[in-house]
C-alpha cells in the first residue's frame, strides 16, 4: 500500500498480499529533490516499525510560526534529521486552554506575525515531501469547526499530514471528527489523563487512532522538575487495556525524564514546551535552530 522513500532506498510494504506493479528503477536522487508526493508511513506504522526494532519513539512538538514560518520549516527538517520519529506541529490559537505560559507565548507571537492556517498548510505541502517522519497536527476545536470538519480533514490529507490531536474535544464529541479523519487517512489521537477513570480510559484507548496520548500530569503544558511516578502505573493500566502504542507528554523537558518514561514502558515520549522555549526564546532564529538541534540530540541519546 504505502511506498516510502528513505535516503534513496525504495521498498514496498504489502499487507494482505496485494502486490504492487513492478516499478522501473530510477536514478538515485538526493532527498532534497522535489518529488510530487512522497507518502511517509502513518503514525501506527511508525510505531510498529520502532517496536520491531525495540525502540521508543521520540516525538517533539513545536508551534507553527514561532519565531516565523520559514524558521518552522527549517526546524521541521532539523528535527527530522536528528532522528525524530513523529513531529507534532501546533496551530496557534488565541485562547489555548490546555497550554501553559511557554506555548501560550509562542502562539501569541506567532499570531501577532499574521500566521494563519492556509500559510501553515502551504508551508507543509512544501516541506513534508522532504521529511522522512510523519507529521501530526495539534489544533484546538474552534478553528476546525469554523473551517468545517470535512474540509479541514481533506486539507490535511492533501498536505500529507498523517495525524491530528485536538485537546479540547471530549470523547463524546469525537464521533464526527473520527469519521471524517478515517475518510481522509488521518489518525485522530485521543488523550487520556491521570484523572480519567479506568472505564472511560478504556473507551478512549479503544477509539484512539495512531497512538494513545497519555498526559503525564494534572495541569497544563509546561516543563516540570520531574515526571510524576503515577505515570508508571497509568502506563501499566493502559497497556492492560490495549495493545496500541502509548506516548507520554506534558512536562517532559530533560534527558533524564525521557529515559525514565521510556524505562517505565512508554512506546513514545513527547517533548513540547522545552522545544518551543529553546526555539522561540533564542536570540536569533539561526541560534534557535542550532540550540534546537543540540537539545534534540541530547534527548534522543537518552533513548538509546
Amino acid at each position: 500500500m504505502a511506498a516510502t522513500l528513505k535516503a534513496g532506498f525504495f521498498f514496498q510494504t504489502k499487507p494482505g498480499g496485494h502486490s504492487l506493479p513492478r516499478i522501473k528503477p530510477f536514478r538515485f536522487k538526493p532527498p532534497m529533490a522535489t518529488l510530487a508526493t512522497v507518502p511517509t508511513v502513518g503514525l501506527s506504522e511508525t510505531f510498529s516499525k520502532l517496536k520491531r526494532q525495540g525502540k521508543v519513539a521520540f516525538i517533539p512538538y513545536i508551534t507553527a510560526g514561532d519565531p516565523d514560518l520559514s524558521t518552522t520549516a527549517q526546524a521541521l527538517k532539523v528535527l527530522d534529521s536528528c532522528g525524530s520519529d513523529i513531529i507534532e506541529l501546533g496551530v496557534p490559537y488565541s485562547d489555548p486552554l490546555a497550554d501553559g505560559p511557554v506555548i501560550q507565548a509562542a502562539a501569541t507571537r506567532s499570531l501577532a506575525k499574521g500566521i494563519n492556517f492556509d500559510k501553515i498548510i502551504a508551508m507543509l505541502k512544501d516541506v513534508i515531501p522532504q521529511l522522512s517522519c510523519p507529521i501530526a497536527l495539534f489544533s484546538y476545536y474552534n478553528p476546525i469547526l469554523k473551517r468545517g470538519i470535512e474540509t479541514f480533514m481533506t486539507t490535511l490529507k492533501d498536505a500529507g499530514i498523517h495525524g491530528l490531536v485536538v485537546p479540547d474535544v471530549p470523547l463524546e464529541e469525537t464521533e464526527i471528527l473520527r469519521k471524517e479523519a478515517v475518510n481522509n487517512n488521518v489518525e485522530l489521537v485521543l488523550l487520556t489523563t491521570p484523572t480519567t477513570p479506568i472505564p472511560r480510559m478504556k473507551a478512549i484507548v479503544e477509539a484512539s487512532e495512531g497512538f494513545v496520548y497519555l498526559v503525564s500530569s494534572v495541569g497544563v503544558t509546561g516543563a516540570r522538575t520531574s515526571v510524576s511516578d503515577k505515570v508508571q502505573s497509568l502506563l501499566h493500566e493502559i497497556k492492560e487495556a490495549t495493545s496500541k502504542p502509548v506516548a507520554v507528554g506534558f512536562g517532559i523537558s530533560k534527558p533524564e525524564h525521557v529515559k525514565q518514561v521510556a524505562e517505565w514502558g512508554a512506546d513514545g515520549v513527547i517533548v513540547g514546551s522545552a522545544m518551543v522555549k529553546v526555539l522561540g526564546e533564542a536570540k536569533s532564529p539561526e541560534e534557535g535552530l542550532k540550540e534546537l538541534e543540540n537539545f534534540t540530540k541530547s534527548l534522543k541519546i537518552a533513548l538509546l
Partner: protein, 481 residues
C-alpha cells in the same frame, strides 16, 4: 432549626452516584414549606421566601395547548439531562483532564438542588447577607417620560438587583457556589471577573465562609474598574492581573484550576463554560425571576408582559427570564452591547453578529474571525465585554423564544444619566444598556403594558466614566458653537 456546619461530609468523591434523598418537605421542621417542581427528572426545590406562591395556583404549569416553542423547550431540557446541551448548544468541550471533575460537580450540584438543608442555609444567606428580596420598583417618572401625547404608554418597573450586597446580581450565584464549594471540601476559590462585580461578590462570599480567594482580572479592566479591585483586596482576596481583558482572565483562571483540581474550585460568574456551569449559574440566579413573578402578582395580580435585561454572557438575563420561558405571553428581550456601533467591529454583540463555535468549554454563538480565532470585544459596559454568550441564550434565540437587540456606548451613557435624573437611581452601565432600549421599545407597546427591566447592578463604579463622557460631549458642543 437546622443550623449545621455547612462542611458536611455528604460529598461524592471518587464515585459518581446518584444520591437517594428523601425530600423533607415538612413545614413543621423547616418553618415553611419549600416549593418543589420536577425538573429534568429530579425533584427540584428552592427556597425563595416564606410566601412563595404555588405556581399551580396560578394555573401556569400545565397549559392545555403545547405550542411548538414549548415542545422545543421540552426537548432542550431532555438534551440537557442527557448530554449537557441545550439543543445543539452547550456541552463539555474541555481538555480530558477536567472531564471527571466536571461530572462530579454536576452530581454535587444536583444534590444541593434538592437538599433542604442547603436550600435553607442559602435562603438565610440570600435574605440576611445578600439583602433579598430585592424590590420591584415602579419607576413613575420614567414611565411618564415614555408616555405619548395622549398620556398612553407602558408601565416601567425596575427589578432592583442593584440593591443587593456588593451592588450587583452576581452575589446570588457567588454565594451559592461558594457554599457548594465549601460543602465539597474545597479550600480555595478561583474566579475571573470583568467589571469586578463578580470578583467582589466572590471575595465577599469567601470572606464570609472562610475560604481562600484568588481573582483573575484583565489588566485593562483593573484600570477601568479600580474601585472594585480595592474592595476585593480589602476582603483578603488575591487579585492577579492577566494581560488583556475578561476573556483572557477566564482562560487563565481555568488553567490555574486545572493544575489543582482537588483543592481549588473554579467559581463561574456567568452562564458560560462547560456543563454544568451554565445550568448552575442560571439556577442560582433564577431567584430573580421567581421573586419577580411573586411581586408582579402582588402588585397587579398578573404577570409581567415584557422582560428586558442586558446581555453580556447572560447571567442576569437568564436569572430574570428562565422562570418565564414557558409563559409564552411574556416577551423576553435581551440587549447586547453594540459598542461603537454594530458594524464598527468594536462591539460585544455576540448573538447579533457571532457565529456558532466552541469557546471556553461550550458550543455557543461567539465573535470569531475567519480563522476561528476569538475576537476581543468592546463595550463601555465592561461587564458586557465577552466574545461568547450563554449556550442557553443561544438556544432561546434559535428557537425564537427570546429576542435580542443591541445598544451603543453612547445610548447607554445617555440612559445612565436619564435614570439618575428621573429616578435618582444610578444604574451600572451594563444595566443602562437595557434601560436604553426602552427608547425604542416603549413607543411600540400598548398602553398599560407591564415592562420589567432588570437593573442588574449599581453604577457608582461608572460615575467617573460617565462624567468624562459628558465633559467630552460638552466640550465638543462648545467647539461647534
Amino acid at each position: 432549626m437546622a443550623g449545621n456546619n455547612l462542611q458536611s461530609t455528604i460529598s461524592v468523591h471518587g464515585r459518581t452516584l446518584y444520591p437517594t434523598c428523601k425530600l423533607l418537605n415538612s413545614s413543621k421542621m423547616l418553618g415553611f414549606s419549600l416549593q418543589s417542581r420536577t425538573d429534568r427528572g429530579l425533584i427540584v426545590c428552592s427556597a425563595v421566601g416564606h410566601n412563595t406562591l404555588n405556581s399551580d395556583e396560578l394555573g401556569l404549569r400545565n397549559p392545555t395547548r403545547t405550542s411548538e416553542i414549548l415542545e422545543l423547550i421540552d426537548q432542550g431540557e431532555k438534551t440537557l439531562a442527557n448530554s449537557g446541551k441545550f439543543g445543539r448548544f452547550g456541552g463539555i468541550f474541555v481538555p480530558e483532564t477536567l472531564i471527571t471533575c466536571l461530572k462530579k460537580l454536576e452530581v454535587e450540584f444536583n444534590w444541593v438542588l434538592h437538599d433542604p438543608q442547603f436550600q435553607e442555609e442559602l435562603s438565610i444567606a440570600l435574605k440576611d447577607y445578600v439583602g433579598r428580596e430585592t424590590p420591584l420598583y415602579f419607576a413613575e417618572r420614567l414611565t411618564n417620560y415614555y408616555r405619548n401625547k395622549n398620556g398612553e404608554g407602558p408601565e416601567i418597573y425596575l427589578k432592583r438587583e442593584d440593591l443587593t450586597h456588593g451592588g450587583a446580581h452576581k452575589i446570588n450565584n457567588a454565594m451559592a457556589q461558594a457554599m457548594l464549594a465549601k460543602r465539597m471540601g474545597r479550600k480555595s476559590i478561583v474566579a475571573a471577573t470583568g467589571a469586578g462585580q463578580h470578583g467582589v461578590a466572590t471575595a465577599a462570599a469567601c470572606a464570609k465562609l472562610g475560604l481562600d480567594c484568588t481573582i483573575f482580572m484583565g489588566s485593562i479592566d483593573m484600570q477601568r474598574q479600580s474601585s472594585n479591585v480595592l474592595l476585593m483586596e480589602h476582603t483578603g482576596a488575591q487579585v492577579k492581573s492577566v494581560a488583556g481583558t475578561f476573556k483572557d482572565a477566564t482562560s487563565e483562571a481555568i488553567r490555574s484550576c486545572v493544575g489543582n483540581l482537588q483543592g481549588s474550585y473554579y467559581l463561574a460568574g456567568t452562564a458560560v463554560g462547560p456543563h454544568p456551569c451554565p445550568s448552575m449559574v442560571r439556577e442560582f440566579q433564577t431567584v430573580i425571576g421567581k421573586e419577580t413573578r411573586k411581586q408582579a402578582m402582588e402588585k397587579w395580580s398578573g404577570k409581567p408582559d415584557v422582560l428586558v435585561a442586558c446581555v453580556g454572557s447572560g447571567s442576569n438575563a437568564l436569572g430574570l427570564f428562565h422562570e418565564f420561558i414557558r409563559d409564552e405571553d411574556v416577551r423576553l428581550i435581551g440587549v447586547e452591547a453594540a459598542g461603537y456601533g454594530i458594524d464598527s467591529g468594536k462591539h460585544s454583540a455576540t448573538l447579533a453578529k457571532g457565529e456558532v463555535g466552541v469557546y471556553h468549554g461550550a458550543m455557543s454563538y461567539l465573535l470569531q474571525d475567519d480563522e476561528g480565532q476569538i475576537i476581543g470585544p468592546h463595550s463601555i459596559g465592561v461587564g458586557l465585554e465577552y466574545p461568547g454568550v450563554s449556550p442557553e441564550l443561544s438556544f432561546l434565540k434559535d428557537i425564537g423564544r427570546a429576542e435580542f437587540y443591541s445598544i451603543t456606548d453612547e445610548e447607554a451613557l445617555e440612559a445612565y444619566t436619564r435614570l439618575c435624573r428621573l429616578e435618582g437611581i444610578f444604574p451600572a452601565l451594563e444595566a443602562a444598556h437595557a434601560l436604553a432600549y426602552l427608547e425604542k421599545l416603549c413607543p411600540t407597546l400598548a398602553s398599560g403594558t407591564k415592562v420589567v427591566v432588570n437593573c442588574s447592578g449599581r453604577g457608582d463604579k461608572d460615575a467617573g466614566t460617565v462624567f468624562k463622557y459628558q465633559h467630552k460631549m460638552e466640550g465638543e458642543q462648545e467647539q461647534s458653537e
